[in-house]
């Protein structure tokens, strides 16, 4: 009758090391799961303003973008100007943006281009809402992935009233505005 060999500590350590090595090798050479990043869907965004105050970063990683192929290059741009502005110019009292992050560039009479300086933008979405209601809706918010620290649980997503945040794959880190997005906007 053969005697069963007793497993000693050294054998156990060898087995565990072999198991760990095999697992690490499999993970290294096997198909790697794609990384996920937080992003907000412009079709669901209701411009509540919480992207400014609820991000762990200050200023927020959420920035406004201008989709130029939707922009009307309007002289009377509601995303840029305070409602009821007497003069359509760059006077500080006429600007809607609380941080003056939007720059108005003359293109040709009577059309202007609106550039957003992301270093100044705090993601409050005032311009987004104004452009959406009164203009073509070319402004929209996105999380800048080069700024976002990709928290495990995004604090803005947690408090977003319209559930506009979701995790998107690394290969498509942004959700761009399209012509159909305008119609898909939820009621405010």
């Amino acid at each position: 009758m053969s005697e069963r060999k007793k497993l000693d500590r050294r054998d156990f350590m060898r087995g565990a090391a072999a198991f760990a090595f095999t697992g690490a090798t499999w993970m290294a050479v096997g198909e790697k799961a794609e990384a996920k990043y937080w992003q907000l869907d412009p079709a669901k965004c209701t411009q509540c303003g919480r992207c400014t105050t609820h991000c762990v970063l200050n200023p927020s990683a959420v920035k406004c973008l201008n989709q130029f192929d939707i922009c009307g290059y309007c002289d009377l741009c509601f995303g840029y100007l305070q409602p009821g502005s007497r003069n359509l110019d760059t006077g500080a009292e006429n600007q809607l943006c609380p941080t003056a992050a939007i720059e108005r560039w003359f293109i040709e009479a009577p059309y202007y281009e609106y550039k957003i300086h992301e270093d100044k933008c705090i993601g409050c979405a005032k311009c987004v809402k104004a452009c959406l209601v009164f203009g073509n809706g070319s402004f929209y918010l996105q999380i800048r992935q080069d700024i976002c620290i990709n928290c495990n649980e995004c604090s803005i997503a947690k408090s977003c009233p319209s559930d506009a945040f979701s995790e998107v794959p690394e290969s498509e880190p942004y959700i761009y505005l399209t012509g159909d997005t305008h119609l898909a906007h939820p009621p405010t």
Partner: protein, 338 residues
């Protein structure tokens, strides 16, 4: 004499109670909202703009016409009162009773429709026009009007056909065979023409009761009247957030005239349908305000039928909504005016 020390039967109870209290405190602190709500300076509040049109009107909404169309964009009425609604790949025809009677297949999604005085149906398809005969069969296609075109409206009379071209930012004048014979509304200081500002594909035109051509200048928030040779006759602009003006970057989006020669306008964003005296540009009354529509929104088309009912193509409801002065309201208005 030494007091006897009282020993509890449960020596851990006090520790458990203290741990629970501390745990609850830590939990409450941890779950407390760390982030402040955005203040008024960080929120764009449109309620004060919406409230401007929260007034009573003499118009009531009738039963809408539900559409079985995808991406409906244009309305038109023929001389017999049939309603034509154009959407993706089809034009649906409704009888005067609002029931669907036929469907005309088209290639693409029409952006505008217009009947010519000789009964042809012109179907605007972004950069070209399909011409349908009385049997609604395609007999011609007109195109290559400009380098790039976005035809958003058509108006036709006995002599001319006028196309509102949002991409070229002008009105194209065509002869009845579809040949371009003129451009209207381009900046011309010598002729005192300020130029049409068209920031978006909302650009409409219509004939008034005298057959004069009125063209919306959406970027200037007003209207301009032109002769067929391109001379400007008159203009008025009403940039205002109040009820008597037009707000936003580009309004009014659609215009039509009722049987009394009054101008009916429709706006996007805060949707408002209003009536103006076209010759002076004076606001007369509100037909329907923004509270009847989901905000923000762009109505796709608006027309006035022979009974002065106002038909609005609502893309969110995918229906033609009908606004009409009821008899009671008409009687009360007559009494008021007496």
């Amino acid at each position: 004499m030494k007091e006897p020390v009282r020993k509890t039967k449960h020596p851990y109870l006090a520790g458990v109670v203290i741990a629970c209290v501390v745990g609850a405190y830590v939990y409450l602190i941890a779950s407390e909202e760390k982030f402040p709500e955005p203040g008024p300076n960080l929120v764009y509040d449109i309620r004060k703009f919406e409230e401007v049109d929260h007034v009573d009107t003499r118009f009531a909404e009738m039963a809408p016409i539900a559409l079985n169309l995808e991406d409906a964009r244009a309305l038109e009425i023929d001389g017999e009162g049939n309603l034509y609604v154009a959407g993706k790949d089809a034009i649906e025809v409704f009888g005067p009773d609002g029931k669907s009677v036929s469907r005309i297949p088209v290639e693409g999604t029409p952006t505008c429709l217009e009947f010519t005085p000789d009964g042809r149906l012109l179907v605007g398809l972004e950069d070209h026009i399909d011409v349908l005969d009385g049997d609604r069969k395609r007999i011609a296609t007109w195109g290559n009007f400009t380098e790039r075109s976005m035809i958003t409206a058509i108006a036709a009379n006995e002599e001319d056909i006028f196309l509102a071209d949002a991409a070229s930012r002008c009105v194209l004048r065509l002869d009845p065979s579809g040949k371009v014979i003129g451009r209207i509304g381009e900046t011309d200081e010598a002729r005192d023409i300020p130029g049409l500002e068209v920031p978006s594909p909302y650009f409409d035109l219509a004939f008034d009761e005298d057959g004069e051509l009125w063209v919306v200048n959406p970027g200037k928030l007003g209207l301009e009247r032109y002769r067929s040779n391109g001379d400007i006759v008159t203009s008025w602009y009403r940039a205002s957030l109040e009820l008597d003006g037009f707000s936003g970057c580009c309004n009014p989006t659609h215009i039509a005239f009722n049987s009394k020669g009054r101008l009916v306008t429709c706006e996007k964003g805060l949707v408002r349908v209003k009536i103006y005296d076209v010759s002076t540009g004076f606001f007369e009354e509100l037909v329907v305000g923004s509270r009847s529509f989901v905000v923000p929104q762009g109505v796709r088309d608006m027309i006035v039928d022979a009974s002065d009912r106002i038909l609005v193509l609502d893309p969110r409801k995918n229906a033609v909504r009908i606004f009409e002065q009821t008899e009671t309201q008409l009687a009360s208005h007559a009494k008021e005016t007496e």
